[in-house]
């Protein structure tokens, strides 16, 4: 497939775009102040954190406004900041274009709401200041990731968000499970990073540049094989960050972090970085059908796997995490389709950002009310005690299952349609995934808000304070209307096209297509089925054993078991072997040599018997040998 045309980048200075770096700098300063300031900043730390996030959003909005002022073809603005690595990446620069600004608004917008929410959620945590510092750090890093104008700086942000994610997952690090989960997340991400690193090496070796403009405009120069290699390596990176198969294992454990973290990082923003990477690198993928095919397969596999995992989890956050995996699978699928899918992928990404953040924060609100209980089997009937949470959660729920006219309906349907056009098999599998989504999300809602109260004796649920509910309300507004706003009239596709290229033909939104209707039908079936099992029927307080399939889903499709068998155990053996080899083998050789010389010395010194006659003998023999040697040498 020929790469789609993307607009060239114009260097820019002045105006809001000229100071776009403030978006990154503000939260970064916030993080720095809070971390270096120590306890002195405890009192106002959370407020400063929120302020910085909101300020960043304001700058983002101003940038957006300025960007809209340009003609569509001129909406790619490069801002050079400072010199970096001569010869490799000469300058650190930002790229403000429709794609990056969309992300910026999402990150700072949803991010600000989550910051605000966290004021309430973390109110009783003694380390709340540190939490806000990390959140600020995350926002800065994420913005760096999406605003970078080259792969290397993208990678800096990429790892920065990884670090923030590590810090936040392990925020309650006195809990060994949290610490382990944090480490796991980082290490699995590093596997992906290796892919991304090697991809960058290959890119530089091929194009002698790492800037997007230097690479993506010249993909035609590279051979098909090289592009495929780069594409697949980038995909490995994307898989790590976006928890796609086979690097998905960390995301479920990542729920050990405080819930706002799950909402911001592990649902709305960071995990979508993989999608961003694929879309941003569109021309590379468009040049190689093989890589695109692999991308779509990974997407579909993950969307199904995540959905299946979601069906079996009793932990509300883990169920939502499975759902996140699945939804990102949709985005990856769309991104793998090419320019036709990009807009849908990003649009779904944005709407997902809203409704999934909404759901997570709702779940957080529930947990907040239930003494941090996460087991849905201990919930039930909460709709009455937490009306606002319930209402907003319901909106999020309807949005994610694709209830007509809500956000998810438009964006997910777009993805399914595009996929169907691309490949019927993939399309129908995506439809199937939507059906499962209907089931597990309904299950989640029914188990939590409907049915009998199965609460702990000590639980006294109550509605959360306004500082937590207002973000929920704002997010649910996005969950309702954003999809229609973006998709109808291909508004978002047109906006995005200067950055990612326009598809050969613009698909029009068609609510009555066969796949669309099939999706709706399957979702309905799933919801009804869920109602029968979890709404109408009694939910047992302990999970039933279930069939083999249930176990399969509960154990995360044996992902951890597989990792353990394939990597961890052999790794441990290898480590032990290597340590042993180093001590006994390499060092043993050194010490052995020393011991050998010492031993030789100990033995040979015995020739020094102390008897003068034996010394005389050695002289005599020595003389004889010397004489012999002279003769031998002399007669040669």
């Amino acid at each position: 497939m020929e790469p789609a045309e993307i607009a060239s980048i114009a260097q820019h200075s002045g105006g809001a775009i000229g100071v776009a770096w403030l978006m990154i700098a503000l939260p970064l300063v916030g993080a720095a102040v809070l971390l270096l300031g120590g306890r002195r900043t405890d009192k106002f730390g959370h407020l400063l954190g929120v302020l910085m996030a909101v300020a960043s959003f304001v700058v983002g909005a101003l940038v957006f406004v300025q960007l809209l002022g340009f003609a569509p073809g001129e909406r790619r603005r490069g801002v050079t900041l400072f010199e970096f690595i001569p010869g490799l990446v000469d300058n650190v620069g930002l790229l403000v274009d429709p794609l990056s600004i969309s992300f910026c608004l999402l990150i700072t917008g949803v991010g600000s709401l989550i910051h605000i929410y966290s004021i309430g959620y973390m109110a009783h945590d003694p380390a709340r200041r540190r939490f806000f510092a990390y959140l600020n750090l995350f926002v800065a890093a994420m913005l760096l990731l999406v605003l970078a104008d080259n792969y290397l700086i993208l990678f800096v942000g990429w790892e920065g968000v990884g670090l923030a994610s590590y810090l936040l997952i392990g925020f309650w690090q006195h809990k060994p499970s949290a610490a382990t989960a944090a480490k796991k997340a980082f290490i699995v991400n590093r596997v992906g990073d290796v892919g991304l690193l090697i991809a960058m090496f290959t890119i530089f070796a091929t194009f002698h540049s790492l800037t997007f403009s230097g690479v993506l405009d010249r993909t035609g120069d590279a051979s098909q094989g090289t592009l495929t290699a780069i594409g697949l390596l980038l995909l490995v990176g994307a898989c790590g960050k976006s928890a796609q198969l086979p690097l998905q294992a960390w995301l479920l454990d990542a729920m050990e972090g405080p819930t706002p973290v799950s909402a911001l990082i592990h649902a709305a923003t960071m995990v979508t970085a993989g999608v961003y990477l694929i879309v941003r690198s569109g021309p590379i993928f468009e040049g190689t059908g093989t890589a695109q095919l692999v991308v779509t397969i990974v997407g579909v596999a993950t969307l199904l796997a995540g959905a299946i995992i979601g069906t079996a989890k009793d932990d509300i956050k883990k169920a939502l995490a499975g759902s996140t995996m699945s939804q990102i699978g949709y985005m990856v699928l769309a991104a793998g389709v090419g320019p036709a899918g990009y807009a849908f992928a990003i649009a779904h990404l944005i709407t997902h950002g809203f409704f999934k953040a909404n759901l997570f924060l709702g779940a957080g609100s529930v947990m907040h009310a239930m003494n941090d209980e996460v087991d849905m089997r201990k919930y039930g009937g909460l709709r009455t005690v937490m009306p606002i949470t319930f209402a907003t959660f319901l909106i999020g729920y309807l949005a994610i299952i694709g209830f007509p006219l809500l956000s998810g309906y438009f964006t997910k349907d777009g993805i399914i349609e595009t996929a169907m056009e691309h490949s019927a098999v993939l399309g129908w599998l995506a439809v199937l995934g939507a059906g499962i989504t209907g089931f597990y999300m309904s299950r989640l809602v029914f188990m939590t808000f409907f049915g009998k109260k199965r609460w702990d004796a000590k639980a006294h649920p109550h509605e959360s304070p306004a500082v937590m509910t207002w973000p929920l309300i704002l997010l649910s507004i996005g969950s309702i209307g954003l999809g229609a706003f973006l998709i109808l009239g291909n508004r978002f596709m047109i906006f995005l096209s200067p950055a990612v290229g326009a598809p050969a033909h613009s698909p029009a939104f068609n609510p009555f297509s066969v796949p669309g209707l099939a999706t709706l039908a399957l979702v309905a079936v799933g919801a009804v089925f869920a109602w029968m099992r979890y709404g109408a029927a009694e939910v047992p307080a302990t999970a039933p054993r279930g069939s083999f399939l249930t176990t399969f889903a509960r154990r995360d499709l044996y992902g951890d078991a597989l990792n353990e068998a394939l990597f961890m155990r052999p790794g441990q053996w290898l480590t032990r072997l290597a340590v042993f080899f180093d001590n006994r083998g390499v060092d043993g050789l050194v010490n052995g040599l020393a011991a050998f010389i010492g031993g030789t010395s100990g033995r040979v010194r015995r020739i020094q018997t102390g008897f003068v006659r034996s010394y005389a003998l050695s002289i005599f023999v020595g003389a004889a040998v010397l004489v012999g040697a002279w003769f031998v040498v002399g007669n040669l």
């Binding site: 015995r606 003068v612 006659r613 005389a616 003998l617 005599f620």
Partner: protein, 98 residues
């Protein structure tokens, strides 16, 4: 003709050498060394004769004097050690080893 003397000299030297190796009494060992020196003298004189120069014969005198000096020193040392250890066996003095 002189070859015979040289062979004799070599024999004497060898006997002296072997004597040093096999005898235990310090005095005897020392005498064997003297025997070796005298074997050298014989060789010097023989060569002097063979080459028709006087040097070798003069050298023999030098050697005798040196040998005499050696005897003085040697006996002094051996006698001292004999007084200390009541033994003239060279094998008994073997504290210094390894």
């Amino acid at each position: 003709m002189t070859t015979h003397y040289l062979v004799l000299s070599a024999l004497l030297f060898a006997i002296g050498g072997v004597g040093v190796l096999v005898r235990r009494n310090a005095i005897v060992v020392f005498m064997c060394v003297e025997l070796m020196l005298n074997a050298c003298n014989l060789a010097f004189v023989t060569f002097a004769r063979q080459n028709g120069s006087l040097d070798g014969q003069v050298i023999a005198f030098f050697v005798m004097i040196v040998a005499a000096a050696e005897v003085v020193i040697g006996l002094a040392i051996i006698v001292t050690i004999f007084r200390t250890r009541r033994s003239a066996s060279v094998d008994d003095a073997s504290l210094l080893k390894h």
